[in-house]
């Protein structure tokens, strides 16, 4: 199985990344690295729906926040280990994705996009009005300082996110190489012709929304532990919605490599820039890059590189 080889390779890379970061031995690198990895998961998840099937999800922040608030909710009931919380967060977001898809995907593609855009506003309204999870005031999650075997808790969170990256990339690449990947591509290209070729388009679209939503929820589940104090405005932050679209668009949407490149480039850039310039300027740059790339380089950095290779050959 080539997917198995890929998975092993990815795990090897992840282990190297983890120990290299540990060798640097600076907490800030773990904090910044966590955010970049989180964006890798988010943009890969977005791309499974957006890049492969061509359906745009503007509500990444909502799916992410659902995962985060599932954790807050469970944390109040009974403290669970993070891997379990990830499963729950993924399930919640996946189900919401499925429901939204079921209601809107039988219609024109634009309706789904609009509905996801509105979803973020509505979920935020719900959370703000829900006192149990902190309402508009927010909720504190006390994070342990240390964890057995690994040491500092942030290193544990970093490792967890690294594992999610491995999962997300393996799923994305697995889809590309499978029957599902061909099916997704036909939906992106021409749904009528896809149906006529025997592709069950609605079912495939629902699979894509569910998978994509679930991965976003999984990325959000450890977030309360990372940030320590979760407010609706930080969980539903604009940067999630924008980055999870901008990163694949800038990296390239046709394969798993694009979102990875886009997330690492833009994510690191923002981590560096937040230290030097304000976060608003930061987001402005991302927005402008997004607009510029969709107009000038529709296939992103991957497309530019492919074009360059083709020309020099």
């Amino acid at each position: 199985m080539r997917t198995r080889v890929f998975l092993l390779l990815l795990i090897a890379v992840a282990i190297v990344v983890f120990f290299a970061t540990r060798w640097v031995n600076n907490d800030y690198v773990f904090f910044a690295g966590y955010t970049v990895l989180q964006f890798v998961v988010l943009s890969t998840a977005w791309n499974i729906l957006g890049g492969y099937t061509g359906y745009v999800n503007f509500g990444s922040a909502a799916f992410f926040a659902l995962g985060a608030y599932a954790t807050v909710f469970l944390h109040k009931l009974y403290p669970l280990p993070i891997p379990l919380l990830i499963v729950v967060g993924g399930a919640v977001s996946g189900i919401v994705g499925l429901g939204m898809g079921y209601l809107t995907l039988r219609l024109r593609g634009a309706f789904f996009a609009i509905a996801t855009l509105a979803l973020a506003v509505v979920l935020q309204t719900l959370i703000v009005n829900w006192d149990y999870v902190g309402g508009s005031r927010g909720a504190y999650i006390i994070r342990p300082n240390e964890i057995a075997l690994i040491g500092p808790y942030i290193q544990y969170l970093f490792l967890v996110m690294l594992a999610l990256v491995v999962i997300a990339l393996t799923v994305a690449r697995g889809i590309e190489r499978s029957r599902l990947g061909y099916g997704f591509a036909t939906i992106r290209d021409d749904e009528l012709a896809a149906e006529a070729s025997g592709v069950p388009t609605l079912r495939l679209k629902l699979i894509a929304t569910t998978l994509s939503g679930a991965l976003m929820g999984m990325a959000g589940a450890p977030f309360p532990y990372y940030i320590g104090y979760l407010q609706p405005s930080s969980a539903f932050g604009l940067e999630y919605a924008v980055n999870s679209i901008a990163m694949p668009m800038i990296g390239g949407t046709t394969s798993w490599v694009g979102p990875l490149i886009g997330a690492i480039l833009l994510g690191s850039l923002q981590q560096i820039a937040t230290v030097t310039i304000s976060s608003a300027v930061n987001l402005l740059i991302v927005g402008l890059l997004l607009v510029a790339f969709v107009i000038i380089a529709p296939n992103g950095i991957v497309g530019l590189v492919q074009g360059w290779i083709r020309r020099t050959k």
Binding site: Y182, E195, A196, S197, P200, T254
Partner: protein
């Protein structure tokens, strides 16, 4: 008619106040080559869309291979053996020519009960189909690199890849030169000889006459003739419909 592969009874379709199809009855036997003609806007494409499940007809029923297919989605009908090509070719633009054929193999042939094709068998089947329509050397190209006639052939090959019992070819020759038309007609006849029932919708009369064993004429959503081609084109009502426009 007993033993008919496709049987359409009392099929009607409206768009708002406009009656596109009005009580169509027709039946196609297994192995037949049927031509379907009619002036522009007579409802030919609407009929194809209703038969294939792309549009939902208000009344009437479609039976295929002994079972009613009403209410089934297009992909379910395709899996049962009903394939079509589109009037304007609709290739999967981001997939290579070979992968365009791989899709129906994966989703139709492999979705049917029985043994699924192995990756090597899939490759072999793609190659065979490409050979059949003479596109083997364009295998790794994207559809946008194809010429008009090659695009039409890809469209037919993709429909063929689903291993259909019935192939509905919707104006697969419009805009082609005479030799290209002959090329496609002989391709369709070859496919028919392999046991596939074919309905050909076409404007080019020379092609229709050469191809069809039977001719059905639609005018303003009604079937006005159905019979042997030579007899049908001498039918005064058919002549009036064509000369009258």
């Amino acid at each position: 008619m007993a033993g008919a592969l496709l049987e359409v009874t009392g099929l009607s379709k409206r768009f708002g106040g406009f009656v596109a199809l009005d009580g169509i009855d027709l039946s196609v036997a297994a192995g037949e080559r049927v031509g379907l003609i009619g002036p522009n806007g007579s409802g030919k494409s609407t009929l194809v869309n209703c038969i294939c499940g792309t549009l939902v007809n208000e009344t009437g029923s479609v039976r295929f291979d002994g079972e009613t297919v009403d209410g089934l989605l297009t992909h379910e009908r395709t899996r049962r053996g009903m394939a079509r090509s589109f009037q304007l070719p609709r290739p999967f633009t981001t997939l290579t020519v070979a992968d365009n054929l791989r899709v129906p193999l994966l989703y139709t042939v492999n979705a049917r009960p029985g043994r699924a094709l192995s990756p090597t068998e899939l490759d072999a089947r793609c190659a065979e189909l490409l050979q059949l329509v003479a596109l083997a050397d364009k295998r790794t190209h994207l559809p946008r690199d194809l010429t008009q006639v090659e695009m039409r052939k890809l469209e037919l090959a993709r429909a063929m890849a689903a291993e259909p019992k019935l192939l509905i070819a919707d104006e697969s020759m419009a805009g082609l030169s005479q030799s290209e038309v002959d090329d496609i007609v002989s391709l369709l006849i070859r496919l028919n000889e392999r046991g596939i029932t074919i309905i050909l919708i076409e404007h080019i009369m020379r092609a229709v006459m050469k191809f069809s064993q039977r001719l059905i004429v639609l005018v303003s959503g009604k079937k006005i003739a159905d019979g042997l081609p030579d007899a049908v084109i001498r039918d005064p009502e058919v002549e009036r419909a064509y000369l009258g426009q």
